[in-house]
Amino acid sequence: MKIKVDYIARVEGEGSVKFNIEGGKLKELKLNIWEPPRFFEGFLVGRKFDEVPDIVSRICGICPVSHMTTSIRAIEKAVGFIPSLEIKNLRKIMSLSQIVASHLVHLYMLVLPDYHRLDMLFSRENPPSPPFTKGGKGGLLEEIKRLIRLKEAVNNVTAIFGGRPLHPVAMVVGGFTKIPSRDEIGKVIKGLESIKGDALDTVKMVSKLHYPDFRNNTEYVSIISKDDYAVNEGTIASSSGIEVEEDDYLSWFQEEEVPYSNAKRTVMKGRGSIMVGALSRLNIKFGMLHPEAKKAAEMIGFKILGKNPFLNNIAQAVEIVHGIWECIELLDAFSIGNYFFKVNVREGSGSALTEAPRGMLYHQYELNKKGIIERANIVTPTAHNFMSLEESLKKLVNENIDKPKNELSLLCEMLVRAYDPCFSCSVH
């Protein structure tokens, strides 16, 4: 029996899962990311350093801020510019607000329909309706309203500092070109305060979904810092106790080409598969979460290192709480000042690791003395997750091999969605 999901729905980008079952045994399974390559690492060569953040933000329409902050930090390292603490804090606000926004859309619009047996969250035939009416089978009016309130409040945070929530413009090499007024900041803080209840309700909602009972063996990897729940800066840590400096990334991690996929697969040299993303972050630095997020996780009885990748969805909900509370604190501490510095170019190379919504993201650049890019290297979260996702799919199929064809393929799709892949990023 051959099963093909040619174009996995409700994920970012284009990928397929194909497998073959013969005599009750899984013969072969391939995750084929057929998203067409755009060759960013090729055409970035010859571009000027200050164009890079604007160009790489177009790698991904959901996590543009991550590509921007990562490239900015790598370039600033290459030219020897050290940003002030204030600038770092603003970048953190940008990253956190984007992580929350990305998780929200993923949880509500991409994941939730699976658990309500819907093709999409709501539609013409199934409009948002309260649960007690007979008309709509979804009855997800409350959830949809909550999503809208949450998304608007966090998008406003990205927008006041970046100019717009998607592909922001004010965040550049050297800082921020414009800073909002106190009034504007006051307004977004109010907005964030107003969605605190909604964020906790999201955690409750996600915790009540019936996740498939499944375990995989993989190494969780994320960046850590002794000061905070690291998002933009830190050292690499794994669940088996490895700690690696950011600059040593390439001596530990290796990208390899996969004949049946346009995305490359990244492995830790001499070790097995790794998983990055919200679940890995929680597994590795739970203690650094905001107290409210910890409380929320405890409220639903979330235990770390549970080995079920489907629980990535719960981890995302917990991070939504963390992001909102931490953004409020950072915004409260915000002071008007100088947030833009001129950067003097020089020859050099620099690399940076950050936590994108979907996990660890790596950028590396070499610049010549005119500030022109001579070499670019980008490794995305989905490339890091590739091997783990493929292994998990194999294990999932083997454990459910007797299920009917359509149920099995839906289960595989659900697992792919739980990893929250970004295929556009992974190919770039």
């Binding site: 174009y7 409700r10 994920v11 055409f43 619009m109 998304k151 592909h167 413009v169």
Partner: protein, 256 residues
């Protein structure tokens, strides 16, 4: 009443346009329930990619030959087809690749090119007739709203067809080009962003793509007088317009 049948198609891009459509801030409920969503992969499982469609939205640059074949079929099955976003309209960021020998760019990314089948990046209208352009990167909310509302009401959409300069003037911005000597692409760039970059104290980098019939060479001469090198000028005009007639005139002038 029958709702218009909508299809959304993604080619080589960041999926930001589909994201902008499927989560259309403030309009999400109306935009999704006013249409019969026949096909939109990021929003809906299943669906029918073969049509017919009353409205088809196409995002992304065309970089592989199968996309051309599919695109032609979608065109045949669609009453109205709009290109959405800078990639689909102008080639956008992926078209930067055509400023260098293509193999050179490809070799920098893959060691084994035997499984890569890319063609030269082009806009959607290089292959098919398009009924309208929802410009921007990300697409402007005003034009997206206009396109959807026009299909619902059966009128011809009126898209913004003037430069970013007009938006700056309407906002009362100080001109960053004249007053601060910033190399602003606003004069040749289509409006729709609300003059975002100049309002944020930086020069426009043309993410909405060239305005129709913009005089690129005139602005390039101004940049030359301001002290920009030939390479700098080419970079300005190739970030979002490497594949457009308007900007190619500049590129050809300043190339060695």
């Amino acid at each position: 009443m029958e709702k218009p049948r909508l299809g959304f198609f993604k080619y080589s891009c960041c999926a930001g346009c589909e994201f902008q459509f499927m989560y259309f801030q403030k309009h999400i409920i109306e935009s999704i329930t006013s249409f019969d969503i026949v096909y939109a992969r990021m929003l809906k499982r299943g669906g029918n990619p073969h049509g017919p469609f009353d409205i088809a939205l196409v995002e992304g640059t065309i970089t592989e030959s199968w996309q051309v074949d599919e695109l032609k079929k979608i065109r045949e099955q669609s009453k109205q087809l709009f290109a959405i976003g800078s990639c689909a309209i102008d080639g956008g960021i992926p078209a930067i690749k055509s400023t260098m020998p293509e193999l050179e760019a490809e070799k920098k990314v893959y060691k084994d090119l035997s499984t890569i089948h890319s063609i030269r990046p082009h806009s959607v209208d290089a292959y098919i007739k398009v009924d309208g352009y929802i410009r921007g990167c990300p697409p402007g909310e005003r034009d997206l709203h206009e396109a959807l509302a026009s299909v619902l009401t059966g009128k011809k959409p009126a898209f913004l067809q003037y430069s970013v300069c007009v938006e700056c003037k309407l906002k009362g911005n100080i001109c960053v080009l004249v007053a601060y000597n910033m190399p602003c692409m606003g004069p040749v760039t289509n409006a729709g962003c609300g003059a975002l970059c100049p309002s944020m104290n930086r020069a426009c980098y043309s993410c909405f793509g060239p305005m129709k019939q913009a005089n690129g060479p005139a602005l390039a001469r101004k940049f030359r007088l301001m002290g920009l090198s030939r390479e700098d000028i080419i970079r300005k005009f190739t970030e979002f317009g490497a594949d457009t007639i308007e900007f190619r005139r500049v590129i050809e002038t300043y190339e060695d």
